[in-house]
Amino acid sequence: MLILDGVTVEVAGKEILHDINLEVKPGETHVLFGPNGTGKTTLLMTIMGFAGYTVTKGRMSYKGEDITTMPLHERAKMGMGMSFQRPPTIRGLKTRNLVALCSKMGKDPEELARRLSFEKFLDRDVNDNLSGGEIKKSELLQLMAQDPDMVLLDEPESGVDLENIALVGEVIAELLDKAIKHFNEPMIEHKKKRKKSGIIITHTGFIMRYVNADVGHVILNGRLSCANNPEEIFSCVGKFGYEECVRCMV
Protein backbone atom coordinates (compact mmCIF):
# COMPACT_ATOMS: atom_id res chain seq x y z
CA MET A 1 0.00 0.00 0.00
CA LEU A 2 2.64 2.50 1.13
CA ILE A 3 6.38 1.99 0.83
CA LEU A 4 9.12 4.36 1.93
CA ASP A 5 12.49 3.37 0.63
CA GLY A 6 15.47 5.13 2.20
CA VAL A 7 13.63 8.44 2.54
CA THR A 8 15.61 11.42 3.87
CA VAL A 9 13.74 14.67 4.53
CA GLU A 10 14.85 18.26 4.89
CA VAL A 11 12.78 21.01 6.50
CA ALA A 12 13.93 24.61 6.13
CA GLY A 13 17.35 23.44 4.96
CA LYS A 14 17.85 21.08 7.89
CA GLU A 15 17.83 17.31 7.65
CA ILE A 16 15.15 16.05 10.02
CA LEU A 17 14.50 12.47 8.90
CA HIS A 18 17.29 10.09 7.92
CA ASP A 19 16.98 7.06 5.69
CA ILE A 20 13.46 5.98 6.60
CA ASN A 21 12.33 2.54 5.47
CA LEU A 22 8.73 1.63 6.06
CA GLU A 23 6.09 -0.56 4.52
CA VAL A 24 2.41 -0.38 5.40
CA LYS A 25 0.49 -3.26 3.84
CA PRO A 26 -3.20 -3.08 2.92
CA GLY A 27 -5.34 -3.44 6.02
CA GLU A 28 -2.47 -2.74 8.40
CA THR A 29 -2.41 -0.09 11.08
CA HIS A 30 0.96 1.11 12.34
CA VAL A 31 1.66 3.14 15.46
CA LEU A 32 4.52 5.62 15.82
CA PHE A 33 6.02 6.40 19.19
CA GLY A 34 8.77 8.85 19.99
CA PRO A 35 9.70 11.82 22.16
CA ASN A 36 8.84 15.42 21.23
CA GLY A 37 10.65 16.97 18.31
CA THR A 38 11.93 13.70 16.97
CA GLY A 39 10.30 13.88 13.53
CA LYS A 40 6.95 12.08 13.84
CA THR A 41 4.86 14.92 12.43
CA THR A 42 7.51 15.51 9.78
CA LEU A 43 7.12 11.92 8.60
CA LEU A 44 3.35 12.19 8.15
CA MET A 45 3.61 15.61 6.45
CA THR A 46 6.16 14.14 4.05
CA ILE A 47 3.94 11.18 3.21
CA MET A 48 1.00 13.52 2.62
CA GLY A 49 3.16 15.76 0.42
CA PHE A 50 3.38 19.18 2.09
CA ALA A 51 5.57 21.66 0.25
CA GLY A 52 8.03 22.48 3.03
CA TYR A 53 9.09 18.85 3.42
CA THR A 54 11.70 18.04 0.81
CA VAL A 55 12.63 14.46 0.09
CA THR A 56 16.34 14.67 -0.67
CA LYS A 57 17.00 10.94 -0.93
CA GLY A 58 14.93 7.83 -1.47
CA ARG A 59 11.44 7.29 -2.89
CA MET A 60 7.91 6.76 -1.79
CA SER A 61 5.24 4.71 -3.49
CA TYR A 62 1.53 4.42 -2.80
CA LYS A 63 -0.86 1.93 -4.38
CA GLY A 64 1.96 0.97 -6.69
CA GLU A 65 2.60 4.51 -7.94
CA ASP A 66 5.70 6.59 -7.29
CA ILE A 67 4.43 9.56 -5.27
CA THR A 68 7.77 11.09 -4.31
CA THR A 69 7.02 14.29 -6.23
CA MET A 70 3.25 14.00 -6.60
CA PRO A 71 1.32 17.15 -5.55
CA LEU A 72 -0.51 17.07 -2.25
CA HIS A 73 -4.06 17.20 -3.58
CA GLU A 74 -3.43 14.36 -6.00
CA ARG A 75 -2.33 12.17 -3.11
CA ALA A 76 -5.55 13.14 -1.35
CA LYS A 77 -7.51 12.22 -4.46
CA MET A 78 -5.75 8.83 -4.45
CA GLY A 79 -7.23 8.20 -1.02
CA MET A 80 -4.73 9.59 1.46
CA GLY A 81 -6.11 11.58 4.35
CA MET A 82 -4.53 13.17 7.39
CA SER A 83 -5.68 14.58 10.69
CA PHE A 84 -3.44 17.40 11.83
CA GLN A 85 -1.91 18.17 15.15
CA ARG A 86 -2.32 21.95 14.74
CA PRO A 87 -4.48 22.80 11.73
CA PRO A 88 -4.91 26.44 10.66
CA THR A 89 -8.08 28.48 11.18
CA ILE A 90 -9.91 29.41 8.00
CA ARG A 91 -12.00 32.51 8.51
CA GLY A 92 -15.36 32.75 6.86
CA LEU A 93 -15.42 29.08 5.88
CA LYS A 94 -18.01 27.15 7.86
CA THR A 95 -17.00 23.71 9.12
CA ARG A 96 -20.22 22.43 7.55
CA ASN A 97 -19.14 23.65 4.13
CA LEU A 98 -15.66 22.21 4.40
CA VAL A 99 -17.07 18.82 5.41
CA ALA A 100 -19.33 18.97 2.36
CA LEU A 101 -16.33 19.85 0.15
CA CYS A 102 -14.38 16.89 1.55
CA SER A 103 -17.15 14.45 0.97
CA LYS A 104 -16.76 12.37 -2.15
CA MET A 105 -20.05 10.62 -1.72
CA GLY A 106 -22.15 13.63 -0.77
CA LYS A 107 -22.43 12.58 2.86
CA ASP A 108 -24.58 14.67 5.15
CA PRO A 109 -22.35 16.78 7.47
CA GLU A 110 -25.09 16.85 10.10
CA GLU A 111 -25.24 13.08 10.29
CA LEU A 112 -21.46 12.69 10.48
CA ALA A 113 -21.24 15.37 13.17
CA ARG A 114 -23.85 13.61 15.26
CA ARG A 115 -21.55 10.61 15.53
CA LEU A 116 -18.97 12.85 17.23
CA SER A 117 -21.44 15.05 19.15
CA PHE A 118 -20.10 17.92 17.10
CA GLU A 119 -23.30 19.33 15.56
CA LYS A 120 -23.14 22.64 17.35
CA PHE A 121 -19.73 23.42 15.84
CA LEU A 122 -20.80 22.94 12.22
CA ASP A 123 -21.63 26.60 11.78
CA ARG A 124 -18.36 27.82 13.23
CA ASP A 125 -15.51 28.87 11.02
CA VAL A 126 -13.07 26.01 10.47
CA ASN A 127 -10.97 25.53 13.64
CA ASP A 128 -11.94 28.96 14.94
CA ASN A 129 -11.58 29.12 18.72
CA LEU A 130 -11.75 25.37 19.18
CA SER A 131 -10.24 23.63 22.19
CA GLY A 132 -7.60 20.94 21.65
CA GLY A 133 -10.16 18.15 21.86
CA GLU A 134 -12.62 19.93 19.57
CA ILE A 135 -9.92 20.33 16.95
CA LYS A 136 -9.37 16.58 16.95
CA LYS A 137 -13.08 16.03 16.43
CA SER A 138 -13.18 18.56 13.63
CA GLU A 139 -10.27 16.77 11.94
CA LEU A 140 -11.95 13.38 12.29
CA LEU A 141 -15.18 14.79 10.93
CA GLN A 142 -13.39 15.90 7.77
CA LEU A 143 -11.71 12.50 7.49
CA MET A 144 -15.05 10.72 7.86
CA ALA A 145 -16.30 12.73 4.91
CA GLN A 146 -13.15 11.98 2.92
CA ASP A 147 -13.15 8.30 3.85
CA PRO A 148 -9.50 7.75 2.92
CA ASP A 149 -7.84 4.40 2.24
CA MET A 150 -4.62 5.52 3.92
CA VAL A 151 -5.38 7.25 7.21
CA LEU A 152 -2.63 9.37 8.77
CA LEU A 153 -3.43 10.47 12.32
CA ASP A 154 -1.17 12.87 14.21
CA GLU A 155 -1.87 12.49 17.93
CA PRO A 156 -5.62 12.09 17.42
CA GLU A 157 -6.34 11.65 21.12
CA SER A 158 -4.25 14.36 22.75
CA GLY A 159 -6.41 16.97 24.43
CA VAL A 160 -9.52 14.80 24.21
CA ASP A 161 -11.17 14.38 27.61
CA LEU A 162 -12.10 10.99 29.08
CA GLU A 163 -15.73 11.44 28.23
CA ASN A 164 -15.00 11.87 24.55
CA ILE A 165 -12.11 9.49 24.14
CA ALA A 166 -14.39 6.50 23.50
CA LEU A 167 -16.28 8.45 20.86
CA VAL A 168 -13.06 9.45 19.12
CA GLY A 169 -11.65 5.93 19.47
CA GLU A 170 -14.70 4.34 17.89
CA VAL A 171 -14.69 6.73 14.96
CA ILE A 172 -11.02 6.01 14.34
CA ALA A 173 -11.65 2.27 14.51
CA GLU A 174 -14.34 2.74 11.92
CA LEU A 175 -12.13 4.85 9.66
CA LEU A 176 -9.61 2.02 9.73
CA ASP A 177 -12.30 -0.58 9.28
CA LYS A 178 -11.28 -2.08 12.62
CA ALA A 179 -14.70 -1.84 14.20
CA ILE A 180 -16.43 -5.16 14.67
CA LYS A 181 -19.60 -4.68 12.70
CA HIS A 182 -20.72 -8.02 11.45
CA PHE A 183 -21.20 -10.43 14.29
CA ASN A 184 -21.82 -13.31 11.96
CA GLU A 185 -18.59 -12.75 10.08
CA PRO A 186 -15.53 -14.39 11.59
CA MET A 187 -12.86 -11.83 12.50
CA ILE A 188 -10.31 -13.63 10.42
CA GLU A 189 -12.47 -13.23 7.30
CA HIS A 190 -13.07 -9.56 7.99
CA LYS A 191 -9.36 -9.01 8.41
CA LYS A 192 -8.61 -10.54 5.02
CA LYS A 193 -11.03 -8.20 3.27
CA ARG A 194 -9.85 -5.11 5.10
CA LYS A 195 -8.34 -2.53 2.77
CA LYS A 196 -7.96 0.53 4.97
CA SER A 197 -4.49 1.21 6.29
CA GLY A 198 -3.23 3.74 8.78
CA ILE A 199 -0.35 5.31 10.63
CA ILE A 200 -1.13 6.72 14.05
CA ILE A 201 1.15 8.89 16.16
CA THR A 202 0.39 8.50 19.82
CA HIS A 203 1.96 9.50 23.12
CA THR A 204 -0.62 8.11 25.45
CA GLY A 205 -1.31 4.79 23.78
CA PHE A 206 -5.01 5.30 24.65
CA ILE A 207 -5.97 4.82 21.07
CA MET A 208 -4.67 1.25 21.15
CA ARG A 209 -7.64 0.31 23.35
CA TYR A 210 -9.96 1.04 20.46
CA VAL A 211 -7.82 0.13 17.50
CA ASN A 212 -5.81 -3.05 17.31
CA ALA A 213 -2.58 -1.83 15.83
CA ASP A 214 -0.56 -4.33 13.83
CA VAL A 215 2.94 -2.86 13.89
CA GLY A 216 4.65 -0.37 16.18
CA HIS A 217 7.69 1.84 15.55
CA VAL A 218 9.81 4.22 17.54
CA ILE A 219 11.31 7.34 15.97
CA LEU A 220 14.32 8.73 17.74
CA ASN A 221 16.32 11.67 16.43
CA GLY A 222 14.89 11.33 12.97
CA ARG A 223 15.53 7.60 12.66
CA LEU A 224 12.88 4.93 12.53
CA SER A 225 14.21 2.33 14.89
CA CYS A 226 12.20 -0.82 14.86
CA ALA A 227 9.10 -2.59 13.73
CA ASN A 228 7.62 -4.68 16.47
CA ASN A 229 4.51 -5.57 18.38
CA PRO A 230 3.01 -2.20 19.35
CA GLU A 231 1.87 -3.32 22.81
CA GLU A 232 5.33 -4.58 23.64
CA ILE A 233 6.96 -1.36 22.48
CA PHE A 234 4.50 0.71 24.43
CA SER A 235 5.05 -1.12 27.68
CA CYS A 236 8.82 -1.15 27.12
CA VAL A 237 8.83 2.63 26.56
CA GLY A 238 6.70 3.01 29.66
CA LYS A 239 9.16 1.05 31.77
CA PHE A 240 12.54 2.03 30.36
CA GLY A 241 12.05 5.15 28.24
CA TYR A 242 12.55 5.60 24.49
CA GLU A 243 16.34 5.37 24.34
CA GLU A 244 16.52 2.21 26.35
CA CYS A 245 13.62 0.73 24.48
CA VAL A 246 15.24 1.31 21.09
CA ARG A 247 18.43 -0.28 22.34
CA CYS A 248 16.74 -3.41 23.68
CA MET A 249 14.48 -3.94 20.69
CA VAL A 250 17.16 -3.73 18.05
Partner: protein, 400 residues
Protein backbone atom coordinates in the same frame (compact mmCIF):
# COMPACT_ATOMS: atom_id res chain seq x y z
CA UNK B 1 -32.12 77.57 3.56
CA UNK B 2 -30.69 81.01 3.10
CA UNK B 3 -27.00 81.45 2.98
CA UNK B 4 -26.39 77.91 1.74
CA UNK B 5 -26.02 78.96 -1.87
CA UNK B 6 -23.53 81.64 -0.92
CA UNK B 7 -21.52 79.19 1.13
CA UNK B 8 -21.60 76.73 -1.72
CA UNK B 9 -20.46 79.34 -4.24
CA UNK B 10 -17.49 80.13 -2.05
CA UNK B 11 -16.53 76.47 -1.70
CA UNK B 12 -16.77 75.63 -5.39
CA UNK B 13 -13.02 75.45 -5.73
CA UNK B 14 -12.32 73.87 -2.36
CA UNK B 15 -10.34 70.69 -2.81
CA UNK B 16 -11.37 67.65 -0.81
CA UNK B 17 -9.27 66.70 2.22
CA UNK B 18 -8.21 63.48 0.52
CA UNK B 19 -8.40 62.02 -2.94
CA UNK B 20 -7.43 63.20 -6.38
CA UNK B 21 -8.92 66.53 -7.43
CA UNK B 22 -11.54 66.09 -10.13
CA UNK B 23 -12.29 68.68 -12.82
CA UNK B 24 -16.06 68.99 -12.75
CA UNK B 25 -16.20 70.87 -16.03
CA UNK B 26 -15.35 67.96 -18.24
CA UNK B 27 -18.62 66.18 -17.41
CA UNK B 28 -22.07 66.89 -18.71
CA UNK B 29 -24.71 68.13 -16.34
CA UNK B 30 -28.31 68.27 -17.44
CA UNK B 31 -31.85 68.93 -16.45
CA UNK B 32 -34.49 66.37 -15.63
CA UNK B 33 -36.12 65.17 -18.81
CA UNK B 34 -39.81 64.60 -19.07
CA UNK B 35 -39.39 61.77 -21.53
CA UNK B 36 -37.29 59.42 -19.44
CA UNK B 37 -37.14 55.91 -20.80
CA UNK B 38 -38.86 54.42 -17.79
CA UNK B 39 -38.04 51.45 -15.70
CA UNK B 40 -39.05 48.86 -18.24
CA UNK B 41 -36.35 49.97 -20.61
CA UNK B 42 -33.49 49.97 -18.16
CA UNK B 43 -31.43 46.91 -18.47
CA UNK B 44 -32.85 44.44 -16.00
CA UNK B 45 -29.63 42.53 -15.49
CA UNK B 46 -27.72 45.75 -14.70
CA UNK B 47 -30.20 46.43 -11.92
CA UNK B 48 -30.39 42.90 -10.58
CA UNK B 49 -26.64 42.62 -10.20
CA UNK B 50 -26.79 45.69 -7.95
CA UNK B 51 -29.47 44.10 -5.79
CA UNK B 52 -32.33 46.10 -7.33
CA UNK B 53 -35.53 44.26 -8.19
CA UNK B 54 -37.11 46.11 -11.15
CA UNK B 55 -40.60 44.77 -10.43
CA UNK B 56 -40.38 46.05 -6.87
CA UNK B 57 -41.43 42.63 -5.61
CA UNK B 58 -40.17 41.92 -2.12
CA UNK B 59 -39.49 45.63 -1.54
CA UNK B 60 -41.44 48.05 0.61
CA UNK B 61 -40.77 50.89 -1.80
CA UNK B 62 -38.60 51.87 -4.74
CA UNK B 63 -36.88 54.95 -6.08
CA UNK B 64 -35.12 54.83 -9.41
CA UNK B 65 -33.29 57.72 -10.95
CA UNK B 66 -31.79 57.60 -14.40
CA UNK B 67 -29.09 60.22 -14.96
CA UNK B 68 -31.04 63.31 -13.84
CA UNK B 69 -34.61 62.04 -13.97
CA UNK B 70 -36.75 60.17 -11.54
CA UNK B 71 -38.15 57.35 -13.59
CA UNK B 72 -39.88 55.40 -10.92
CA UNK B 73 -41.04 55.93 -7.39
CA UNK B 74 -43.58 54.03 -5.39
CA UNK B 75 -44.30 52.89 -1.89
CA UNK B 76 -46.36 50.04 -0.68
CA UNK B 77 -46.28 50.26 3.08
CA UNK B 78 -48.08 52.57 5.47
CA UNK B 79 -45.77 54.65 7.61
CA UNK B 80 -42.96 54.23 5.11
CA UNK B 81 -42.28 57.11 2.78
CA UNK B 82 -40.08 57.19 -0.25
CA UNK B 83 -40.07 60.05 -2.75
CA UNK B 84 -37.87 62.36 -4.73
CA UNK B 85 -36.14 64.94 -2.57
CA UNK B 86 -37.61 67.71 -4.70
CA UNK B 87 -41.13 66.63 -3.88
CA UNK B 88 -40.33 66.11 -0.22
CA UNK B 89 -38.86 69.60 0.09
CA UNK B 90 -42.05 71.05 -1.36
CA UNK B 91 -44.25 68.93 0.88
CA UNK B 92 -42.44 69.33 4.20
CA UNK B 93 -41.34 72.71 5.35
CA UNK B 94 -39.52 71.10 8.30
CA UNK B 95 -37.18 69.23 5.99
CA UNK B 96 -34.99 72.33 5.86
CA UNK B 97 -34.06 71.57 9.48
CA UNK B 98 -32.31 68.45 8.21
CA UNK B 99 -30.81 69.93 5.07
CA UNK B 100 -27.00 70.00 5.39
CA UNK B 101 -27.24 69.23 9.10
CA UNK B 102 -25.32 65.95 9.11
CA UNK B 103 -22.75 67.32 6.71
CA UNK B 104 -21.54 70.84 5.89
CA UNK B 105 -22.43 72.25 2.49
CA UNK B 106 -18.94 73.68 2.16
CA UNK B 107 -17.17 70.43 3.03
CA UNK B 108 -15.56 70.51 -0.40
CA UNK B 109 -16.23 71.38 -4.02
CA UNK B 110 -18.35 68.27 -4.49
CA UNK B 111 -20.84 69.08 -1.74
CA UNK B 112 -20.87 72.70 -2.91
CA UNK B 113 -21.45 71.76 -6.53
CA UNK B 114 -24.29 69.41 -5.61
CA UNK B 115 -26.07 72.18 -3.70
CA UNK B 116 -25.94 74.42 -6.76
CA UNK B 117 -27.46 71.82 -9.06
CA UNK B 118 -31.18 71.23 -9.46
CA UNK B 119 -32.53 69.11 -6.58
CA UNK B 120 -32.31 65.40 -7.22
CA UNK B 121 -32.03 62.40 -5.00
CA UNK B 122 -34.34 60.51 -2.71
CA UNK B 123 -36.10 61.10 0.54
CA UNK B 124 -36.92 58.20 2.83
CA UNK B 125 -38.63 58.25 6.17
CA UNK B 126 -40.15 55.69 8.47
CA UNK B 127 -42.70 56.92 11.03
CA UNK B 128 -42.12 56.47 14.76
CA UNK B 129 -42.39 52.87 15.88
CA UNK B 130 -42.85 51.56 12.33
CA UNK B 131 -40.69 48.98 10.65
CA UNK B 132 -40.10 48.26 6.98
CA UNK B 133 -41.43 44.80 6.20
CA UNK B 134 -39.24 44.55 3.11
CA UNK B 135 -36.18 46.64 2.29
CA UNK B 136 -36.61 49.95 0.53
CA UNK B 137 -34.64 50.12 -2.67
CA UNK B 138 -33.03 53.04 -4.44
CA UNK B 139 -31.17 52.91 -7.68
CA UNK B 140 -29.09 55.66 -9.20
CA UNK B 141 -28.52 54.66 -12.76
CA UNK B 142 -26.01 56.37 -15.04
CA UNK B 143 -26.71 56.09 -18.70
CA UNK B 144 -25.45 58.95 -20.86
CA UNK B 145 -21.77 58.86 -21.73
CA UNK B 146 -19.81 61.46 -19.75
CA UNK B 147 -22.72 62.30 -17.47
CA UNK B 148 -22.33 64.11 -14.15
CA UNK B 149 -24.98 62.74 -11.83
CA UNK B 150 -25.42 64.60 -8.56
CA UNK B 151 -27.89 63.76 -5.82
CA UNK B 152 -28.70 64.85 -2.32
CA UNK B 153 -30.50 62.19 -0.28
CA UNK B 154 -32.07 62.49 3.14
CA UNK B 155 -33.05 59.48 5.21
CA UNK B 156 -34.89 59.80 8.51
CA UNK B 157 -35.72 56.99 10.92
CA UNK B 158 -38.11 58.40 13.49
CA UNK B 159 -38.06 57.27 17.14
CA UNK B 160 -38.17 53.54 17.63
CA UNK B 161 -38.50 52.81 13.91
CA UNK B 162 -36.51 50.42 11.83
CA UNK B 163 -35.62 50.59 8.17
CA UNK B 164 -33.64 48.44 5.78
CA UNK B 165 -32.41 50.06 2.62
CA UNK B 166 -30.65 48.62 -0.33
CA UNK B 167 -29.13 50.94 -2.89
CA UNK B 168 -27.65 49.90 -6.14
CA UNK B 169 -25.66 52.41 -8.09
CA UNK B 170 -25.03 51.10 -11.49
CA UNK B 171 -24.36 52.13 -15.04
CA UNK B 172 -25.71 51.22 -18.45
CA UNK B 173 -23.65 48.57 -20.19
CA UNK B 174 -22.87 51.09 -22.90
CA UNK B 175 -21.58 53.80 -20.54
CA UNK B 176 -17.87 54.03 -19.87
CA UNK B 177 -17.19 57.33 -18.21
CA UNK B 178 -19.08 59.59 -15.86
CA UNK B 179 -18.97 61.30 -12.50
CA UNK B 180 -21.26 60.48 -9.60
CA UNK B 181 -21.63 62.93 -6.71
CA UNK B 182 -23.81 61.59 -3.94
CA UNK B 183 -24.58 63.55 -0.82
CA UNK B 184 -26.45 61.53 1.80
CA UNK B 185 -27.66 62.61 5.21
CA UNK B 186 -28.96 60.07 7.70
CA UNK B 187 -30.83 60.80 10.90
CA UNK B 188 -31.33 57.94 13.31
CA UNK B 189 -33.62 59.04 16.10
CA UNK B 190 -33.87 57.63 19.60
CA UNK B 191 -34.00 53.83 19.59
CA UNK B 192 -34.27 53.67 15.80
CA UNK B 193 -32.24 51.51 13.43
CA UNK B 194 -31.14 51.97 9.84
CA UNK B 195 -29.42 49.24 7.87
CA UNK B 196 -28.04 50.65 4.67
CA UNK B 197 -26.58 48.27 2.13
CA UNK B 198 -24.92 49.51 -1.02
CA UNK B 199 -23.95 47.27 -3.89
CA UNK B 200 -22.24 49.41 -6.45
CA UNK B 201 -21.26 48.43 -9.94
CA UNK B 202 -19.25 51.20 -11.49
CA UNK B 203 -17.14 51.23 -14.63
CA UNK B 204 -13.51 51.55 -15.68
CA UNK B 205 -13.82 55.28 -16.32
CA UNK B 206 -16.33 56.30 -13.72
CA UNK B 207 -15.33 58.67 -10.91
CA UNK B 208 -17.32 58.58 -7.68
CA UNK B 209 -17.40 61.08 -4.82
CA UNK B 210 -20.00 60.15 -2.20
CA UNK B 211 -20.32 62.47 0.78
CA UNK B 212 -22.14 61.06 3.77
CA UNK B 213 -23.06 62.30 7.24
CA UNK B 214 -24.90 60.30 9.88
CA UNK B 215 -26.36 61.52 13.17
CA UNK B 216 -27.40 58.88 15.70
CA UNK B 217 -29.40 59.65 18.83
CA UNK B 218 -29.68 57.70 22.06
CA UNK B 219 -29.84 53.94 21.59
CA UNK B 220 -29.99 54.32 17.81
CA UNK B 221 -28.20 51.92 15.46
CA UNK B 222 -26.72 52.67 12.06
CA UNK B 223 -25.34 49.80 9.99
CA UNK B 224 -23.68 50.48 6.67
CA UNK B 225 -22.43 47.87 4.24
CA UNK B 226 -20.56 48.91 1.17
CA UNK B 227 -19.83 46.41 -1.58
CA UNK B 228 -17.85 47.33 -4.69
CA UNK B 229 -16.49 44.42 -6.69
CA UNK B 230 -16.36 45.85 -10.21
CA UNK B 231 -13.77 48.15 -11.75
CA UNK B 232 -14.04 51.85 -10.93
CA UNK B 233 -11.59 54.52 -12.01
CA UNK B 234 -11.50 56.57 -8.85
CA UNK B 235 -13.74 56.30 -5.85
CA UNK B 236 -13.15 58.35 -2.73
CA UNK B 237 -15.52 58.40 0.20
CA UNK B 238 -15.13 58.91 3.91
CA UNK B 239 -18.57 58.87 5.58
CA UNK B 240 -18.72 60.41 9.04
CA UNK B 241 -21.04 59.32 11.81
CA UNK B 242 -21.78 61.25 15.00
CA UNK B 243 -22.93 59.02 17.84
CA UNK B 244 -24.42 61.82 19.88
CA UNK B 245 -26.78 59.87 22.11
CA UNK B 246 -25.85 57.47 24.88
CA UNK B 247 -25.45 53.86 23.77
CA UNK B 248 -25.68 54.71 20.10
CA UNK B 249 -24.12 52.27 17.64
CA UNK B 250 -22.52 52.58 14.21
CA UNK B 251 -21.07 49.75 12.17
CA UNK B 252 -19.41 50.27 8.83
CA UNK B 253 -18.35 47.28 6.77
CA UNK B 254 -16.92 47.29 3.33
CA UNK B 255 -16.07 44.58 0.87
CA UNK B 256 -13.92 45.96 -1.91
CA UNK B 257 -12.16 44.53 -4.91
CA UNK B 258 -9.76 46.63 -6.96
CA UNK B 259 -8.92 45.22 -10.38
CA UNK B 260 -6.01 46.70 -12.27
CA UNK B 261 -6.61 50.37 -13.05
CA UNK B 262 -9.05 50.86 -10.18
CA UNK B 263 -8.47 53.22 -7.28
CA UNK B 264 -10.65 52.99 -4.17
CA UNK B 265 -10.05 55.27 -1.22
CA UNK B 266 -12.70 54.53 1.36
CA UNK B 267 -13.33 54.16 5.04
CA UNK B 268 -15.33 55.76 7.79
CA UNK B 269 -14.95 58.20 10.62
CA UNK B 270 -16.99 57.87 13.78
CA UNK B 271 -17.25 60.35 16.65
CA UNK B 272 -18.30 58.48 19.76
CA UNK B 273 -19.81 61.36 21.72
CA UNK B 274 -22.51 59.58 23.73
CA UNK B 275 -21.71 57.64 26.86
CA UNK B 276 -21.50 53.90 26.18
CA UNK B 277 -21.69 54.34 22.42
CA UNK B 278 -20.08 51.67 20.26
CA UNK B 279 -18.61 51.48 16.82
CA UNK B 280 -16.96 49.05 14.49
CA UNK B 281 -15.31 49.70 11.15
CA UNK B 282 -14.47 46.56 9.20
CA UNK B 283 -13.02 46.20 5.75
CA UNK B 284 -12.15 43.21 3.64
CA UNK B 285 -10.25 44.29 0.60
CA UNK B 286 -8.72 42.52 -2.37
CA UNK B 287 -6.33 44.03 -4.84
CA UNK B 288 -6.11 42.40 -8.23
CA UNK B 289 -3.60 44.95 -9.36
CA UNK B 290 -5.52 48.05 -8.32
CA UNK B 291 -5.11 50.37 -5.36
CA UNK B 292 -7.14 50.36 -2.17
CA UNK B 293 -6.74 52.81 0.65
CA UNK B 294 -8.68 51.54 3.64
CA UNK B 295 -9.18 54.27 6.19
CA UNK B 296 -10.75 54.28 9.58
CA UNK B 297 -10.82 56.96 12.21
CA UNK B 298 -12.47 56.47 15.57
CA UNK B 299 -12.73 59.34 18.01
CA UNK B 300 -13.59 58.43 21.60
CA UNK B 301 -15.12 61.44 23.30
CA UNK B 302 -17.15 59.83 26.08
CA UNK B 303 -16.99 57.42 28.98
CA UNK B 304 -17.47 53.71 28.43
CA UNK B 305 -17.31 53.86 24.68
CA UNK B 306 -16.09 50.81 22.81
CA UNK B 307 -14.69 50.98 19.31
CA UNK B 308 -12.89 48.58 17.04
CA UNK B 309 -11.27 48.89 13.65
CA UNK B 310 -10.37 45.98 11.40
CA UNK B 311 -8.66 46.25 8.02
CA UNK B 312 -7.83 43.00 6.28
CA UNK B 313 -6.40 43.02 2.80
CA UNK B 314 -5.31 40.38 0.33
CA UNK B 315 -3.12 41.15 -2.64
CA UNK B 316 -3.80 38.40 -5.15
CA UNK B 317 -1.69 39.60 -8.08
CA UNK B 318 2.05 40.09 -8.30
CA UNK B 319 1.55 43.82 -7.89
CA UNK B 320 -1.25 45.71 -6.20
CA UNK B 321 -1.53 48.24 -3.42
CA UNK B 322 -3.47 48.00 -0.19
CA UNK B 323 -2.78 50.81 2.20
CA UNK B 324 -4.51 50.49 5.58
CA UNK B 325 -4.70 53.69 7.60
CA UNK B 326 -6.31 52.90 10.93
CA UNK B 327 -6.55 55.75 13.42
CA UNK B 328 -7.67 55.59 17.02
CA UNK B 329 -8.12 58.79 18.94
CA UNK B 330 -9.04 58.44 22.60
CA UNK B 331 -9.82 61.74 24.28
CA UNK B 332 -10.42 60.71 27.85
CA UNK B 333 -9.90 57.88 30.28
CA UNK B 334 -12.46 55.10 30.12
CA UNK B 335 -12.43 54.60 26.38
CA UNK B 336 -11.86 51.12 24.99
CA UNK B 337 -10.50 51.25 21.46
CA UNK B 338 -8.62 48.72 19.40
CA UNK B 339 -7.55 47.95 15.89
CA UNK B 340 -6.30 45.08 13.84
CA UNK B 341 -4.83 45.32 10.37
CA UNK B 342 -3.30 42.69 8.15
CA UNK B 343 -2.25 42.96 4.53
CA UNK B 344 -0.67 40.19 2.54
CA UNK B 345 -1.23 37.08 0.54
CA UNK B 346 -3.22 34.00 1.42
CA UNK B 347 -1.40 31.83 3.96
CA UNK B 348 0.25 28.88 2.21
CA UNK B 349 -0.60 26.76 5.24
CA UNK B 350 -4.31 27.33 4.66
CA UNK B 351 -4.09 26.49 0.97
CA UNK B 352 -2.22 23.28 1.69
CA UNK B 353 -4.63 22.32 4.44
CA UNK B 354 -7.50 22.40 1.96
CA UNK B 355 -5.41 20.68 -0.70
CA UNK B 356 -4.87 17.81 1.72
CA UNK B 357 -8.66 17.40 1.63
CA UNK B 358 -8.55 16.91 -2.12
CA UNK B 359 -9.07 20.47 -3.39
CA UNK B 360 -6.80 21.70 -6.17
CA UNK B 361 -4.70 24.78 -5.52
CA UNK B 362 -7.16 26.96 -7.46
CA UNK B 363 -10.17 25.53 -5.62
CA UNK B 364 -8.44 25.97 -2.28
CA UNK B 365 -7.56 29.59 -3.08
CA UNK B 366 -11.10 30.36 -4.22
CA UNK B 367 -12.55 28.77 -1.08
CA UNK B 368 -10.29 30.84 1.17
CA UNK B 369 -11.02 34.10 -0.67
CA UNK B 370 -14.74 33.39 -0.50
CA UNK B 371 -14.38 32.92 3.26
CA UNK B 372 -12.30 36.08 3.53
CA UNK B 373 -15.07 38.12 1.92
CA UNK B 374 -17.75 36.46 4.02
CA UNK B 375 -17.94 39.07 6.78
CA UNK B 376 -20.29 38.36 9.64
CA UNK B 377 -22.12 41.62 10.21
CA UNK B 378 -23.91 41.75 13.51
CA UNK B 379 -27.52 42.80 13.10
CA UNK B 380 -27.58 42.48 9.31
CA UNK B 381 -30.99 41.26 8.13
CA UNK B 382 -30.73 37.92 6.27
CA UNK B 383 -32.27 39.23 3.04
CA UNK B 384 -29.55 41.87 2.78
CA UNK B 385 -26.86 39.31 3.59
CA UNK B 386 -28.26 37.25 0.72
CA UNK B 387 -27.92 40.15 -1.70
CA UNK B 388 -24.29 40.64 -0.69
CA UNK B 389 -23.55 36.92 -1.05
CA UNK B 390 -25.17 36.92 -4.46
CA UNK B 391 -23.12 39.91 -5.64
CA UNK B 392 -19.91 38.19 -4.52
CA UNK B 393 -20.89 34.92 -6.16
CA UNK B 394 -21.58 36.72 -9.43
CA UNK B 395 -18.23 38.48 -9.38
CA UNK B 396 -16.17 35.43 -8.51
CA UNK B 397 -15.09 34.80 -12.06
CA UNK B 398 -13.64 38.33 -12.18
CA UNK B 399 -11.98 38.11 -8.77
CA UNK B 400 -10.02 34.91 -9.24
Amino acid sequence: MHGLKEKAEKALNKKAAVGRDIDLNIYRTGTPESNATGLAELCETDLLSAGIVPSGEGRSGSYIQEDHSVTHCNMTQKGVEISSIEEALKKYDWLKDYWWKALAVDTDKYTAFTELQPRRGYFMRVAAGQKTVYPLQACLYMEEEGVLQSVHNVVIAEEGSEMNIITGCTTASSLHSGLHLGVSEFFVKKGAKITFTMIHNWKEDVVVRPRTGVVVEEGGVFISNYVSLKPVKDLQSFPTAYLNGDNAVARFSSILVAPEGSWLDTGARVYLNGRGSRSEIISRTISNGGTIIARGHLIGNAEEIKAHLECNGLILTERGIIHAIPELEGRLRGVDMSHEAAVGKIAQEEIEYLMSRGLSEEEATATIVRGFLNVEIEGLPPELKQEIDRAIEESEKDIF
